[in-house]
Protein backbone atom coordinates (compact mmCIF):
# COMPACT_ATOMS: atom_id res chain seq x y z
CA UNK A 1 0.00 0.00 0.00
CA UNK A 2 2.74 2.41 0.98
CA UNK A 3 4.30 1.74 -2.42
CA UNK A 4 1.41 2.27 -4.78
CA UNK A 5 -0.86 4.83 -3.07
CA UNK A 6 1.18 7.92 -4.01
CA UNK A 7 1.34 6.79 -7.64
CA UNK A 8 -2.41 6.20 -7.67
CA UNK A 9 -3.13 9.63 -6.22
CA UNK A 10 -0.85 11.30 -8.72
CA UNK A 11 -2.68 9.43 -11.47
CA UNK A 12 -5.97 10.61 -10.02
CA UNK A 13 -4.65 14.17 -10.16
CA UNK A 14 -3.69 13.66 -13.80
CA UNK A 15 -7.31 12.99 -14.67
CA UNK A 16 -8.49 15.84 -12.41
CA UNK A 17 -6.44 18.30 -14.42
CA UNK A 18 -7.20 16.69 -17.78
CA UNK A 19 -9.76 19.29 -18.85
CA UNK A 20 -8.34 22.17 -16.84
CA UNK A 21 -7.55 25.14 -19.09
CA UNK A 22 -4.01 26.41 -19.31
CA UNK A 23 -2.12 29.03 -21.24
CA UNK A 24 -0.28 27.56 -24.23
CA UNK A 25 3.44 27.55 -23.68
CA UNK A 26 3.15 27.63 -19.88
CA UNK A 27 3.61 24.37 -17.94
CA UNK A 28 0.35 22.50 -17.39
CA UNK A 29 -1.31 22.79 -13.97
CA UNK A 30 -0.81 19.07 -13.58
CA UNK A 31 2.91 19.50 -14.02
CA UNK A 32 3.11 21.85 -11.03
CA UNK A 33 0.81 19.83 -8.84
CA UNK A 34 2.53 16.56 -9.64
CA UNK A 35 5.90 18.00 -8.76
CA UNK A 36 4.55 19.19 -5.41
CA UNK A 37 3.04 15.79 -4.69
CA UNK A 38 6.33 14.01 -5.43
CA UNK A 39 7.87 16.12 -2.69
CA UNK A 40 5.01 16.10 -0.21
CA UNK A 41 4.12 12.42 -0.18
CA UNK A 42 7.41 11.07 1.21
CA UNK A 43 7.26 13.67 3.97
CA UNK A 44 3.70 12.83 5.06
CA UNK A 45 3.90 9.06 4.70
CA UNK A 46 7.26 8.66 6.41
CA UNK A 47 6.25 11.00 9.22
CA UNK A 48 3.15 8.93 9.92
CA UNK A 49 4.83 5.54 9.69
CA UNK A 50 7.82 6.48 11.81
CA UNK A 51 5.94 8.29 14.53
CA UNK A 52 3.50 5.41 15.00
CA UNK A 53 6.15 2.67 14.85
CA UNK A 54 8.39 4.47 17.31
CA UNK A 55 5.49 5.28 19.58
CA UNK A 56 4.65 1.56 19.68
CA UNK A 57 8.26 0.76 20.58
CA UNK A 58 8.15 3.24 23.42
CA UNK A 59 4.80 2.11 24.84
CA UNK A 60 5.29 -1.66 24.48
CA UNK A 61 8.55 -1.46 26.44
CA UNK A 62 10.62 -2.85 23.59
CA UNK A 63 12.47 0.45 23.34
CA UNK A 64 13.54 0.33 26.98
CA UNK A 65 14.59 -3.25 26.47
CA UNK A 66 16.52 -2.46 23.30
CA UNK A 67 18.31 0.29 25.20
CA UNK A 68 19.54 -2.24 27.78
CA UNK A 69 21.41 -4.03 24.98
CA UNK A 70 24.82 -2.93 23.69
CA UNK A 71 23.10 -1.12 20.81
CA UNK A 72 24.14 2.53 20.44
CA UNK A 73 21.39 5.10 20.19
CA UNK A 74 22.69 6.51 16.94
CA UNK A 75 22.75 2.98 15.50
CA UNK A 76 19.10 2.63 16.38
CA UNK A 77 18.21 5.91 14.69
CA UNK A 78 20.37 5.12 11.68
CA UNK A 79 18.70 1.72 11.39
CA UNK A 80 15.25 3.26 11.51
CA UNK A 81 16.33 6.00 9.16
CA UNK A 82 17.70 3.57 6.57
CA UNK A 83 14.83 1.09 6.81
CA UNK A 84 12.21 3.77 6.28
CA UNK A 85 14.27 5.60 3.69
CA UNK A 86 14.54 2.44 1.62
CA UNK A 87 10.77 2.16 1.72
CA UNK A 88 10.58 5.84 0.79
CA UNK A 89 13.06 5.33 -2.05
CA UNK A 90 10.99 2.49 -3.49
CA UNK A 91 7.87 4.60 -3.19
CA UNK A 92 9.48 7.63 -4.80
CA UNK A 93 10.98 5.54 -7.61
CA UNK A 94 7.58 4.18 -8.50
CA UNK A 95 5.89 7.57 -8.23
CA UNK A 96 8.57 9.24 -10.37
CA UNK A 97 8.40 6.48 -13.00
CA UNK A 98 4.63 6.70 -13.25
CA UNK A 99 4.71 10.51 -13.40
CA UNK A 100 7.47 10.85 -15.95
CA UNK A 101 6.78 7.85 -18.18
CA UNK A 102 3.00 7.45 -18.18
CA UNK A 103 1.61 10.82 -17.17
CA UNK A 104 3.95 13.01 -19.16
CA UNK A 105 5.45 14.96 -16.28
CA UNK A 106 8.01 17.32 -17.71
CA UNK A 107 10.63 19.15 -15.72
CA UNK A 108 13.37 21.33 -17.06
CA UNK A 109 15.79 19.89 -14.52
CA UNK A 110 16.85 16.29 -14.05
CA UNK A 111 14.35 13.70 -12.75
CA UNK A 112 17.20 12.40 -10.57
CA UNK A 113 17.23 15.70 -8.73
CA UNK A 114 13.46 15.44 -8.17
CA UNK A 115 13.98 11.92 -6.86
CA UNK A 116 16.79 13.10 -4.56
CA UNK A 117 14.63 15.85 -3.08
CA UNK A 118 11.86 13.31 -2.52
CA UNK A 119 14.26 11.08 -0.54
CA UNK A 120 15.56 13.99 1.52
CA UNK A 121 11.96 14.88 2.33
CA UNK A 122 11.42 11.29 3.43
CA UNK A 123 14.40 11.45 5.78
CA UNK A 124 13.03 14.73 7.14
CA UNK A 125 9.71 12.95 7.71
CA UNK A 126 11.51 10.15 9.56
CA UNK A 127 13.33 12.66 11.77
CA UNK A 128 10.21 14.64 12.60
CA UNK A 129 8.27 11.42 13.20
CA UNK A 130 10.89 10.03 15.59
CA UNK A 131 10.92 13.31 17.46
CA UNK A 132 7.15 13.63 17.73
CA UNK A 133 6.78 10.04 18.93
CA UNK A 134 8.43 11.16 22.16
CA UNK A 135 5.57 13.52 22.89
CA UNK A 136 2.72 11.16 22.09
CA UNK A 137 1.36 8.90 24.78
CA UNK A 138 -0.81 6.78 22.51
CA UNK A 139 -0.87 5.90 18.84
CA UNK A 140 -4.00 8.02 18.63
CA UNK A 141 -2.04 11.06 19.78
CA UNK A 142 0.79 10.19 17.39
CA UNK A 143 -1.64 10.41 14.47
CA UNK A 144 -2.88 13.78 15.71
CA UNK A 145 0.62 15.16 15.45
CA UNK A 146 0.34 14.97 11.70
CA UNK A 147 -2.07 17.92 11.33
CA UNK A 148 -0.06 19.81 13.95
CA UNK A 149 3.34 19.31 12.35
CA UNK A 150 2.66 18.76 8.67
CA UNK A 151 -0.45 20.82 7.87
CA UNK A 152 1.01 24.28 8.72
CA UNK A 153 4.07 23.46 6.66
CA UNK A 154 1.96 22.58 3.63
CA UNK A 155 -0.28 25.62 4.05
CA UNK A 156 2.61 28.05 4.36
CA UNK A 157 5.07 26.52 1.93
CA UNK A 158 3.63 28.27 -1.09
CA UNK A 159 1.41 25.62 -2.64
CA UNK A 160 -1.88 27.39 -1.98
CA UNK A 161 -0.79 31.02 -1.73
CA UNK A 162 2.62 31.99 -3.16
CA UNK A 163 4.96 32.83 -0.34
CA UNK A 164 5.67 36.39 -1.44
CA UNK A 165 2.00 37.43 -1.17
CA UNK A 166 1.64 36.04 2.36
CA UNK A 167 1.41 38.62 5.18
CA UNK A 168 4.85 39.41 6.52
CA UNK A 169 4.46 37.55 9.83
CA UNK A 170 3.35 34.42 7.99
CA UNK A 171 6.33 34.75 5.67
CA UNK A 172 8.57 34.78 8.72
CA UNK A 173 7.00 31.57 9.98
CA UNK A 174 7.19 30.09 6.52
CA UNK A 175 10.91 30.88 6.46
CA UNK A 176 11.62 28.58 9.39
CA UNK A 177 9.60 25.61 8.12
CA UNK A 178 11.53 22.98 6.15
CA UNK A 179 8.75 22.22 3.66
CA UNK A 180 9.02 25.77 2.25
CA UNK A 181 12.58 25.02 1.19
CA UNK A 182 11.76 21.56 -0.14
CA UNK A 183 9.02 22.97 -2.31
CA UNK A 184 11.11 25.87 -3.55
CA UNK A 185 13.84 23.43 -4.54
CA UNK A 186 11.34 21.33 -6.49
CA UNK A 187 10.00 24.39 -8.28
CA UNK A 188 13.53 25.45 -9.19
CA UNK A 189 14.21 21.99 -10.63
CA UNK A 190 10.94 22.21 -12.54
CA UNK A 191 11.84 25.56 -14.07
CA UNK A 192 15.57 25.43 -14.78
CA UNK A 193 17.58 22.76 -16.56
CA UNK A 194 20.70 23.20 -14.42
CA UNK A 195 20.62 23.00 -10.59
CA UNK A 196 20.40 26.62 -9.46
CA UNK A 197 22.16 28.09 -6.46
CA UNK A 198 18.80 28.53 -4.75
CA UNK A 199 17.93 24.87 -5.30
CA UNK A 200 21.26 23.74 -3.87
CA UNK A 201 20.89 26.04 -0.85
CA UNK A 202 17.32 24.81 -0.29
CA UNK A 203 18.37 21.17 -0.43
CA UNK A 204 21.13 21.88 2.09
CA UNK A 205 18.62 23.61 4.38
CA UNK A 206 16.24 20.64 4.25
CA UNK A 207 19.11 18.23 5.00
CA UNK A 208 20.03 20.49 7.93
CA UNK A 209 16.47 20.32 9.29
CA UNK A 210 16.49 16.53 8.91
CA UNK A 211 19.79 16.19 10.79
CA UNK A 212 18.61 18.49 13.59
CA UNK A 213 15.35 16.54 13.91
CA UNK A 214 17.26 13.23 14.08
CA UNK A 215 19.64 14.60 16.73
CA UNK A 216 16.77 15.94 18.83
CA UNK A 217 15.10 12.54 18.44
CA UNK A 218 18.29 10.88 19.69
CA UNK A 219 18.13 13.10 22.76
CA UNK A 220 14.66 11.76 23.56
CA UNK A 221 15.98 8.18 23.66
CA UNK A 222 17.06 7.87 27.26
CA UNK A 223 18.61 4.76 28.71
CA UNK A 224 17.67 5.91 32.20
CA UNK A 225 14.17 7.13 32.95
CA UNK A 226 12.56 8.34 36.19
Amino acid sequence: MILVVPSLIITLMYFMFQNAPHRPGAPTPFNNACLIMLGVFPLIVMFLITSITMQRERVSGTLERILTTPLRRLDLLAAYGTAFSIAAAAQATLACLVSYVFLGLDTAGSPILVFTIAIINAVLGVGLGLLCSAFARTEFQAVQFMPVVIAPQLLLCGIIVPRDVLPEWLQLISNVLPASYALEALQQVGAYSEPTAIAVRDIAVVIGFAVVALCLAAATLRRRTP
Partner: protein, 254 residues
Protein backbone atom coordinates in the same frame (compact mmCIF):
# COMPACT_ATOMS: atom_id res chain seq x y z
CA UNK B 1 16.33 -28.50 44.66
CA UNK B 2 18.15 -25.77 46.52
CA UNK B 3 20.97 -23.65 45.26
CA UNK B 4 23.52 -22.50 47.77
CA UNK B 5 22.77 -19.35 49.68
CA UNK B 6 24.70 -16.16 49.20
CA UNK B 7 25.96 -16.14 52.79
CA UNK B 8 28.20 -19.14 52.12
CA UNK B 9 29.36 -17.78 48.78
CA UNK B 10 29.95 -14.24 49.98
CA UNK B 11 31.99 -15.49 52.92
CA UNK B 12 34.41 -17.16 50.54
CA UNK B 13 35.40 -13.70 49.31
CA UNK B 14 34.09 -13.99 45.75
CA UNK B 15 33.06 -10.62 44.40
CA UNK B 16 29.28 -10.37 44.55
CA UNK B 17 27.19 -10.25 41.37
CA UNK B 18 25.18 -7.33 42.66
CA UNK B 19 26.11 -4.89 45.36
CA UNK B 20 23.61 -2.21 46.32
CA UNK B 21 24.56 0.45 48.85
CA UNK B 22 22.16 2.92 50.47
CA UNK B 23 20.01 3.04 47.38
CA UNK B 24 17.26 5.63 47.36
CA UNK B 25 14.93 6.11 44.41
CA UNK B 26 12.21 8.69 43.97
CA UNK B 27 9.50 8.13 41.41
CA UNK B 28 7.17 11.06 40.88
CA UNK B 29 6.83 12.58 44.31
CA UNK B 30 6.94 9.28 46.14
CA UNK B 31 10.00 7.61 47.61
CA UNK B 32 9.98 4.26 45.81
CA UNK B 33 13.08 2.78 47.48
CA UNK B 34 14.54 3.90 50.78
CA UNK B 35 18.05 3.06 51.96
CA UNK B 36 18.41 -0.37 50.36
CA UNK B 37 21.71 -2.16 50.87
CA UNK B 38 22.19 -5.73 49.75
CA UNK B 39 24.76 -8.10 48.26
CA UNK B 40 23.84 -10.94 45.95
CA UNK B 41 26.38 -13.69 45.34
CA UNK B 42 27.24 -15.07 41.91
CA UNK B 43 25.52 -18.20 40.70
CA UNK B 44 22.58 -17.97 43.08
CA UNK B 45 18.87 -17.78 42.43
CA UNK B 46 17.58 -14.92 44.52
CA UNK B 47 13.87 -14.38 44.95
CA UNK B 48 12.69 -10.80 45.35
CA UNK B 49 9.38 -11.01 47.17
CA UNK B 50 6.82 -8.58 48.40
CA UNK B 51 3.34 -7.25 47.71
CA UNK B 52 2.75 -5.45 44.42
CA UNK B 53 3.79 -1.82 44.47
CA UNK B 54 6.51 -2.42 47.08
CA UNK B 55 9.36 -1.41 44.76
CA UNK B 56 10.45 -4.74 43.29
CA UNK B 57 10.43 -3.51 39.72
CA UNK B 58 12.13 -0.25 40.69
CA UNK B 59 14.94 -2.18 42.40
CA UNK B 60 15.31 -4.40 39.35
CA UNK B 61 15.39 -1.42 37.01
CA UNK B 62 18.06 0.16 39.20
CA UNK B 63 20.13 -2.99 38.88
CA UNK B 64 19.65 -3.14 35.12
CA UNK B 65 20.49 0.55 34.94
CA UNK B 66 17.33 2.00 33.41
CA UNK B 67 16.24 3.74 36.60
CA UNK B 68 17.40 7.21 37.58
CA UNK B 69 18.51 6.90 41.19
CA UNK B 70 18.54 9.68 43.77
CA UNK B 71 21.23 8.39 46.13
CA UNK B 72 23.45 5.39 46.68
CA UNK B 73 25.38 3.09 44.37
CA UNK B 74 24.52 -0.04 42.47
CA UNK B 75 27.46 -2.18 41.35
CA UNK B 76 26.82 -5.10 39.03
CA UNK B 77 29.55 -7.64 38.22
CA UNK B 78 32.13 -5.13 39.37
CA UNK B 79 30.88 -2.21 37.24
CA UNK B 80 28.42 0.60 37.96
CA UNK B 81 24.92 -0.54 36.96
CA UNK B 82 23.98 0.37 33.41
CA UNK B 83 27.56 0.94 32.22
CA UNK B 84 28.42 -0.02 28.67
CA UNK B 85 30.48 -3.13 29.57
CA UNK B 86 27.44 -4.62 31.30
CA UNK B 87 25.00 -4.30 28.43
CA UNK B 88 25.90 -7.65 26.91
CA UNK B 89 26.28 -9.39 30.29
CA UNK B 90 22.96 -8.51 31.90
CA UNK B 91 19.65 -9.86 30.59
CA UNK B 92 16.42 -8.21 31.65
CA UNK B 93 12.97 -9.67 31.22
CA UNK B 94 10.26 -7.13 31.98
CA UNK B 95 6.97 -7.99 33.59
CA UNK B 96 4.97 -7.67 30.39
CA UNK B 97 6.57 -9.68 27.59
CA UNK B 98 8.44 -7.15 25.48
CA UNK B 99 8.52 -8.89 22.15
CA UNK B 100 7.41 -7.95 18.66
CA UNK B 101 4.01 -9.51 18.06
CA UNK B 102 4.25 -9.19 14.30
CA UNK B 103 7.43 -11.25 14.15
CA UNK B 104 7.89 -15.01 14.44
CA UNK B 105 9.39 -16.45 17.62
CA UNK B 106 12.70 -17.27 15.99
CA UNK B 107 12.90 -13.82 14.38
CA UNK B 108 12.38 -12.15 17.75
CA UNK B 109 15.24 -14.22 19.16
CA UNK B 110 17.44 -13.50 16.13
CA UNK B 111 16.72 -9.79 16.37
CA UNK B 112 17.84 -9.65 19.99
CA UNK B 113 20.81 -11.89 19.16
CA UNK B 114 21.84 -9.29 16.59
CA UNK B 115 21.43 -6.51 19.13
CA UNK B 116 23.58 -8.36 21.65
CA UNK B 117 26.10 -9.25 18.98
CA UNK B 118 25.67 -13.02 19.25
CA UNK B 119 24.96 -15.34 16.33
CA UNK B 120 21.80 -17.03 15.11
CA UNK B 121 22.93 -20.26 16.77
CA UNK B 122 22.46 -18.50 20.11
CA UNK B 123 18.94 -17.65 18.98
CA UNK B 124 18.22 -21.31 18.16
CA UNK B 125 19.60 -22.45 21.51
CA UNK B 126 17.58 -19.86 23.40
CA UNK B 127 14.35 -20.90 21.72
CA UNK B 128 15.11 -24.57 22.54
CA UNK B 129 16.01 -23.65 26.11
CA UNK B 130 12.54 -22.26 26.76
CA UNK B 131 10.92 -25.29 25.15
CA UNK B 132 9.44 -23.55 22.11
CA UNK B 133 11.19 -25.61 19.43
CA UNK B 134 7.86 -26.85 18.08
CA UNK B 135 6.57 -23.30 17.63
CA UNK B 136 9.70 -21.56 16.41
CA UNK B 137 8.07 -20.25 13.24
CA UNK B 138 4.80 -19.22 14.91
CA UNK B 139 3.81 -15.57 14.93
CA UNK B 140 4.05 -14.12 18.42
CA UNK B 141 0.62 -12.48 18.18
CA UNK B 142 -0.91 -15.98 18.01
CA UNK B 143 0.78 -17.22 21.18
CA UNK B 144 -0.70 -17.70 24.64
CA UNK B 145 0.38 -15.53 27.56
CA UNK B 146 2.74 -18.16 28.94
CA UNK B 147 4.36 -18.75 25.58
CA UNK B 148 4.93 -15.04 25.13
CA UNK B 149 6.61 -14.87 28.53
CA UNK B 150 8.91 -17.64 27.40
CA UNK B 151 9.71 -15.89 24.12
CA UNK B 152 10.58 -12.80 26.15
CA UNK B 153 12.85 -14.98 28.29
CA UNK B 154 14.47 -16.46 25.19
CA UNK B 155 15.21 -12.93 23.95
CA UNK B 156 17.24 -12.37 27.12
CA UNK B 157 18.94 -15.78 26.98
CA UNK B 158 20.38 -15.12 23.51
CA UNK B 159 22.90 -12.83 25.17
CA UNK B 160 24.16 -15.76 27.31
CA UNK B 161 24.09 -13.29 30.21
CA UNK B 162 26.02 -13.58 33.47
CA UNK B 163 23.15 -11.96 35.31
CA UNK B 164 19.51 -12.50 34.46
CA UNK B 165 16.93 -10.18 35.99
CA UNK B 166 13.39 -11.54 35.71
CA UNK B 167 10.41 -9.42 36.71
CA UNK B 168 7.47 -11.60 37.78
CA UNK B 169 8.07 -14.17 35.05
CA UNK B 170 5.52 -16.64 36.40
CA UNK B 171 2.60 -14.32 37.09
CA UNK B 172 -0.66 -15.54 35.64
CA UNK B 173 0.77 -18.85 34.47
CA UNK B 174 -0.74 -22.22 35.23
CA UNK B 175 0.99 -24.43 37.82
CA UNK B 176 2.43 -26.85 35.26
CA UNK B 177 4.04 -24.06 33.30
CA UNK B 178 5.36 -22.48 36.47
CA UNK B 179 7.14 -25.68 37.47
CA UNK B 180 8.48 -25.87 33.93
CA UNK B 181 9.86 -22.36 34.06
CA UNK B 182 11.47 -22.88 37.46
CA UNK B 183 13.18 -25.99 36.10
CA UNK B 184 14.55 -23.83 33.32
CA UNK B 185 15.73 -21.19 35.81
CA UNK B 186 17.62 -23.87 37.76
CA UNK B 187 19.22 -25.14 34.56
CA UNK B 188 20.30 -21.59 33.71
CA UNK B 189 21.71 -21.10 37.21
CA UNK B 190 23.68 -24.36 36.99
CA UNK B 191 25.44 -22.94 33.95
CA UNK B 192 26.78 -20.20 36.21
CA UNK B 193 24.27 -17.43 35.62
CA UNK B 194 23.09 -15.39 38.58
CA UNK B 195 19.32 -15.01 38.65
CA UNK B 196 17.23 -12.39 40.36
CA UNK B 197 13.56 -13.32 40.14
CA UNK B 198 10.71 -11.25 41.53
CA UNK B 199 7.33 -12.55 42.52
CA UNK B 200 4.45 -11.61 44.74
CA UNK B 201 3.50 -15.23 45.26
CA UNK B 202 5.21 -16.56 48.36
CA UNK B 203 4.97 -20.25 47.49
CA UNK B 204 7.50 -19.64 44.72
CA UNK B 205 10.07 -18.73 47.36
CA UNK B 206 10.97 -22.37 47.92
CA UNK B 207 12.55 -22.46 44.48
CA UNK B 208 15.07 -19.80 45.45
CA UNK B 209 18.33 -20.17 47.32
CA UNK B 210 18.06 -16.69 48.73
CA UNK B 211 15.16 -14.46 49.57
CA UNK B 212 14.85 -10.71 49.67
CA UNK B 213 11.66 -9.61 51.38
CA UNK B 214 10.47 -6.12 50.54
CA UNK B 215 7.66 -3.91 51.69
CA UNK B 216 6.84 -0.29 50.89
CA UNK B 217 10.25 0.50 49.48
CA UNK B 218 12.18 -1.05 52.36
CA UNK B 219 14.16 -4.25 52.46
CA UNK B 220 12.78 -6.26 55.39
CA UNK B 221 15.03 -9.28 55.29
CA UNK B 222 17.74 -11.07 53.32
CA UNK B 223 17.35 -14.71 54.23
CA UNK B 224 16.85 -18.24 52.92
CA UNK B 225 13.63 -20.25 52.90
CA UNK B 226 14.93 -22.58 55.65
CA UNK B 227 16.16 -19.77 57.83
CA UNK B 228 12.92 -17.86 57.35
CA UNK B 229 10.97 -20.88 58.61
CA UNK B 230 13.31 -21.33 61.58
CA UNK B 231 13.25 -17.67 62.56
CA UNK B 232 9.50 -17.28 62.41
CA UNK B 233 8.49 -20.78 63.40
CA UNK B 234 5.99 -20.87 60.55
CA UNK B 235 5.78 -23.77 58.12
CA UNK B 236 4.17 -21.92 55.24
CA UNK B 237 6.31 -19.19 53.74
CA UNK B 238 3.20 -17.06 53.28
CA UNK B 239 2.70 -17.02 57.05
CA UNK B 240 6.37 -16.48 57.65
CA UNK B 241 6.38 -13.41 55.44
CA UNK B 242 3.34 -11.99 57.22
CA UNK B 243 5.05 -12.59 60.54
CA UNK B 244 8.15 -10.71 59.33
CA UNK B 245 5.93 -7.81 58.31
CA UNK B 246 4.22 -7.80 61.72
CA UNK B 247 7.59 -7.73 63.47
CA UNK B 248 8.90 -4.89 61.32
CA UNK B 249 5.74 -2.83 61.82
CA UNK B 250 5.88 -3.46 65.55
CA UNK B 251 9.56 -2.47 65.60
CA UNK B 252 8.80 0.72 63.69
CA UNK B 253 5.94 1.58 66.06
CA UNK B 254 8.03 0.82 69.15
Amino acid sequence: MMSSSSDELLRTGVEPAIEVQNLRVIRGKRVALEDISVQIARGTITGLLGPSGCGKTTLMRSIVGTQIIAEGTVTVLGHPAGSAELRHRVGYVTQDPTIYNDLRIIDNARYFAALYGTDSQAADEAVSAVGLDDHRTALCSNLSGGQRTRVSLACALVARPDLLVLDEPTVGLDPVLRVDLWDQFHQIARRGTTLLVSSHVMDEADHCGDLLLMREGHLLAHTTPTKLREDTGCQSLEEAFLSVIRHSTAAAAG
